[in-house]
Amino acid sequence: MATLAADLLNGSRRALARALTVVENERPDAQALLTALYPHTGRAWVIGVTGAPGTGKSSLVSAMAAAYRKQGKTVAIVAVDPTSPFTGGAILGDRIRMRDLSGDAGVFIRSMATRGSLGGLARTTRDAVRVLDAAGFDIILMETVGAGQSEVDIARAAQTTLVVEAPGLGDDVQAIKAGILEIADVLVVNKSDRPGADNTVRALRAMLELGHPTNGGRMISHHGLMMSDDITHPSPALPVGDVWLPPVLRTIATGDSRTQNDGIVELLTQIETHRAYLLDGHRLREREHDRIEHEIRDRLAHTLMKNLLNAVSSEYYESVISQVQARTLDPHSAIQALLSAR
């Protein structure tokens, strides 16, 4: 395992690919590998890309990666697609949209299946991003499964989160529902050459203004509890620059020769602006602290549950389920029984 980490740090792509498998399969040696790599992480800028199926996330990621390559930055992509809950299988098809990136040693693309995780990412995606970070990529683009309204894990795994919309997917009430739009640092209306793009942009802008009408349209708490230190309403207008108002951008990731890549350079500029905003003062440090605390809780919960289930015999576990099913035990008492069983 020491050699795998060393080979990876020396730039071996084969070692990198193997390391990602070790982490993804949660093999027993994964922990030692991640321990060895962790000191080398924290240098990449991690950009999350989420949005409904068919909004063009993969094409957008591909266009962004090509634009970053023109700036001389190296790019890794983690593309997540859903695992079938019925068979455990998956079709990982994001590479179809990324063929323009082939043959470039400054790009590395890895597809991941969710393997039962429901937040839009796989449980091991964060660790995969760490492996790619240690391998020295400047930019890591993390694409979620086609996400609806509550797949918000990405906001805690990324430093800048893009939420991708496309024209014609919903009215302005969709736009003010809780969830995915709240996690956006940048809102992207992709396929903006399609009819209805203006309406989509308008609805999103209006949604942002509803977030804090007393504040000149600037939205204070767009991350909800994650950024709760920013909630100071009702308040006089804060100095410009204290609040991040998510910009709404139009892009065309796949168009004809005239429109292809429209808005991509502007998108990269806005991501850079967001990065500068986070790096200013304590914002990034606070966000990282919040993120790490959340990850530690996640991992604790997972490990505690695994340990508990290991300690309880499967017969007893089954018998508790049967009792709940037979209405001789309620679910809450079942938990107490399982907790005190070992």
């Binding site: 792509r13 040696d29 299988g89 179809i96 299946a113």
Partner: protein, 138 residues
């Protein structure tokens, strides 16, 4: 294997545009619990080798209906070897005349599935090939 889904790359090298077979196989393998990395049409040998490397797949499945397998498969094998993927098996589906089976096996093709192959047979064969390759050590 370590108890996780088999990862297979399904690629269509060359210029023929008939991808229905590849899609049917991709779907059948998904239903058998595989993780299928589907790359689409018109893949160059270098693209296939690169994807196989980055995705760290257990096996590469090629669909060729153009009759160009004698040209394409050796080049793909070479490109994979150049990426240190000499131990990753290749399987082949499509229209492959029986007299070519031997030359295909010589360039490292582990199984060939023509018209009439059942998906159950394909799944079983891939599982066996991956198991024979055995537990990989990094």
């Amino acid at each position: 294997m370590d108890g996780h889904a088999i990862r297979i790359l399904i690629a269509k090298p060359g210029l023929d545009g008939h991808d229905r077979g590849a899609k049917v196989i991709a779907r059948a393998l998904r239903d058998a619990g595989f993780e299928v990395i589907y790359t689409g049409l018109r893949q160059t040998p270098e693209m296939i080798a690169e994807a196989a490397l980055q995705e760290d797949v257990d096996v590469v499945g090629l669909s060729i209906l153009s009759g160009a397998h004698q040209t394409l498969v050796p080049v793909i094998r070479q490109a994979m070897d150049a990426h240190e993927l000499g131990d990753v098996p290749i399987i082949l589906g499509g229209i492959i005349p029986e007299q070519d089976f031997e030359s295909m096996q010589q360039v490292g093709v582990k199984a060939i599935f023509g018209p009439g192959s059942t998906t159950a047979d394909i799944v079983t064969t891939i599982r066996r090939i991956v198991a024979e390759r055995g537990e990989r050590t990094t």
